[in-house]
C-alpha cells in the first residue's frame, strides 16, 4: 500500500493504541462515542488477530494501550489479551462501565498485568446514573470502584458532563473523594455521533459551564497531591479549537472491533478516507502508507484561514470530524475557532440547545442501543 506518504512532514511513530474490542455494551449512554450505525458492523477480530495487532503496534512504538468498546468485559479473551499486552511492555488501561466486573475478574486481570482501570459513572445519584446509562448500574459501579482501589490499581473515575448532570458537580467531586479516586476525568461531552444527535438535550449553557468549571477548579486545589483531575474542555465555549488527537496520524491509533484502523475513533464518519483493515495490511503499512492516515498529516491539506494561520502548528486546524459535522466540509477550519467564517454554526447550536431547554415539552433522548442504531444503518 505505497504512495500516500509524501514525506513532507516527518511521520512520528504511534504512542497510543485504542483497542475497541467490541461494540457490544449493556449500557445505552446517549453520548456514546461509537458510530451511530454500530449495529451494522457485526464482525469482531479474533483473539489471534488482536495479538498480532498488539505486537505490530508495539514494535512501531505504541506503549499506552486502552482496552475499550463497547464494554470490553464482554470479550471472554480479555485476560489473555491483557497478559499478551503486558508481555510486550504496554502500559494498559481497561476502560469499562463496570458492568459484568467481579472481584474475581479484578484479581485475574491484575495477575495478567493490567496497569489501571477506568470506571465510568454517569452521575452522582442513582436515579440519574441509571437513567443516563439506561441500566440499573449505579450501586455496582461504586462497588467496582472500591474493588479497583482495594486491589492496588490506580483508580481512574470518569464522568461525562452534560446538561443533565452538570448541576451535580459538587456531588460528583464528593463522590470521587469518597471512592478514593487517584484520577478524576471530568469529560465535557464532545458532540459527535450519539452526542451530536442528542446535542439539544445535552449541551449546557455557558453559565452552567462556567459555574461547574469554577467549582472543579477550586476543588482541584484542595486535593492537589492526592487526586489528579483531568478536565476535558467543552470546546463549544472556547475561542480556539482543540489540538485534536495531538495532530492527525502523529500519536493515536484506534482499531475498531471489526479491524478497521482509524486515526481517531470518530473518523468512520468522514467520507472518502478508505480506512484500512488490519485483516488486509500490517500496522506499519497502515500507519505510514495508508491514504487514511496520511489524509490530514502536515499542513498541505488546509484551506484558509488555517493555511496562513500562525497558530496552525498549535491546533492543526482543530477537529476534522467537527468541521465535517458542523460545516459539511472536512477540510474547513474547525468552526469552534473564532477565525472561521462558519463560527456562527457553533453559536446557532448553543442557541438551539438553550431554546430546547426552555421548551415546555422536551423531546426524549435517543439512547444508544441496537434498535436505534438500525435507524442510522
Amino acid at each position: 500500500m505505497a504512495g500516500y506518504n509524501n514525506n513532507l512532514t516527518k511521520t512520528t511513530p504511534p504512542r497510543w493504541l485504542l483497542a475497541e474490542l467490541t461494540y457490544a455494551c449493556p449500557l445505552q449512554c446517549p453520548y456514546c462515542s461509537n458510530p451511530l450505525d454500530y449495529a451494522s458492523y457485526k464482525a469482531e477480530l479474533s483473539t489471534d488477530d488482536w495479538k498480532r495487532v498488539l505486537e505490530q503496534a508495539r514494535k512501531l512504538g505504541a506503549v499506552q494501550l486502552g482496552f475499550s468498546g463497547g464494554e470490553p468485559l464482554t470479550r471472554s479473551d480479555l485476560p489473555q489479551l491483557v497478559k499478551h499486552a503486558r508481555d510486550l511492555g504496554y502500559y494498559s488501561n481497561l476502560i469499562t462501565s463496570g458492568y459484568g466486573m467481579t472481584e474475581e475478574k479484578i484479581v485475574q486481570l491484575k495477575e495478567a498485568g493490567l496497569d489501571h482501570i477506568q470506571v465510568s459513572i454517569q452521575a452522582s445519584s442513582q436515579e440519574l446514573n441509571d437513567h443516563i446509562a439506561g441500566t440499573a448500574s449505579f450501586a455496582h459501579k461504586k462497588e467496582v470502584a472500591r474493588l479497583v482501589k482495594k486491589h492496588g490499581y490506580p483508580m481512574v473515575l470518569c464522568v461525562v458532563i452534560h446538561r443533565e448532570n452538570i448541576h451535580q458537580m459538587p456531588e460528583i467531586l464528593a463522590m470521587a473523594q469518597e471512592l478514593g479516586a487517584d484520577y478524576l476525568e471530568l469529560a465535557n461531552t464532545q458532540y459527535y455521533g450519539w452526542a451530536h444527535v442528542n446535542r439539544d438535550l445535552l449541551l449546557p449553557t455557558k453559565e452552567q459551564f462556567e459555574q461547574a468549571e469554577a467549582i472543579a477548579q477550586a476543588f482541584k486545589e484542595t486535593v492537589a497531591g492526592k487526586m489528579k483531575i483531568y478536565y476535558v474542555v467543552p470546546d463549544f465555549y472556547e475561542d480556539r479549537p482543540k489540538a485534536c488527537m495531538n495532530g492527525w496520524g502523529t500519536t493515536f491509533l484506534t482499531i475498531a472491533p471489526d479491524g478497521v484502523a482509524l486515526p481517531c475513533h470518530s473518523a468512520r464518519e468522514l467520507p472518502g478516507l478508505d480506512c484500512p483493515n488490519v485483516n488486509d495490511y500490517s500496522i506499519a503499512d497502515i500507519w505510514y502508507e495508508s491514504k487514511a492516515f496520511n489524509f490530514f498529516r502536515g499542513f498541505e491539506w488546509m484551506k484558509e484561514p488555517c493555511r496562513s494561520c500562525d497558530e496552525k502548528a498549535k491546533d492543526f486546524g482543530g477537529c476534522r470530524c467537527q468541521a465535517y459535522l458542523l460545516t459539511g466540509d472536512m477540510y474547513n477550519a474547525d468552526p469552534v475557532c473564532s477565525k472561521s467564517d462558519r463560527h456562527g454554526v457553533v453559536q446557532e447550536a448553543i442557541e438551539s440547545a438553550k431554546q430546547a431547554a426552555l421548551a415546555v415539552e422536551e423531546k426524549p433522548l435517543v439512547f444508544r442501543n441496537s434498535k436505534n442504531s438500525k435507524l442510522f444503518g
Binding site: G61, Q64, G225
Partner: protein, 89 residues
C-alpha cells in the same frame, strides 16, 4: 511537598519507568499520560528504587560520572518529580 533527604525514594505506585526501544529513551507511564525523559532525568529516576535516599543518589551519580557538585541539580529535579507524582517517599 518537600523532599526528605533521609527517606528512600521510589517510583510512584501508579507509575512505571521503562525503556522504549522505538524511541530510544526512557519514559514514565501513568494513567492517561506519558513523559519522555532526557538522559540525565532517566539516570536519576533509575536510582529511585525504594532503597536509596537523595544523599545516596547524589553520591552514586557523582561516582558514576566521575564528577562533583551534582547535589543542587539532582535535588531540584527530584523535587519536581515528587510534586508531579512520579516518585514517592
Amino acid at each position: 511537598m518537600t523532599l526528605n533527604p533521609q527517606l528512600p525514594l521510589s517510583i510512584s505506585r501508579t507509575h512505571r519507568l521503562q525503556w522504549e526501544e522505538a524511541q530510544q529513551k526512557f519514559v514514565i507511564l501513568y494513567p492517561e499520560g506519558m513523559v519522555e525523559l532526557n538522559q540525565s532525568s532517566a539516570e536519576i529516576l533509575k536510582c529511585c528504587d525504594g532503597v536509596h535516599t537523595l544523599t545516596d543518589i547524589v553520591g552514586d551519580l557523582e561516582q558514576k560520572f566521575a564528577t562533583s557538585g551534582l547535589h543542587n541539580d539532582i535535588s531540584a529535579f527530584l523535587e519536581v518529580a515528587l510534586n508531579n507524582g512520579w516518585i514517592q517517599q
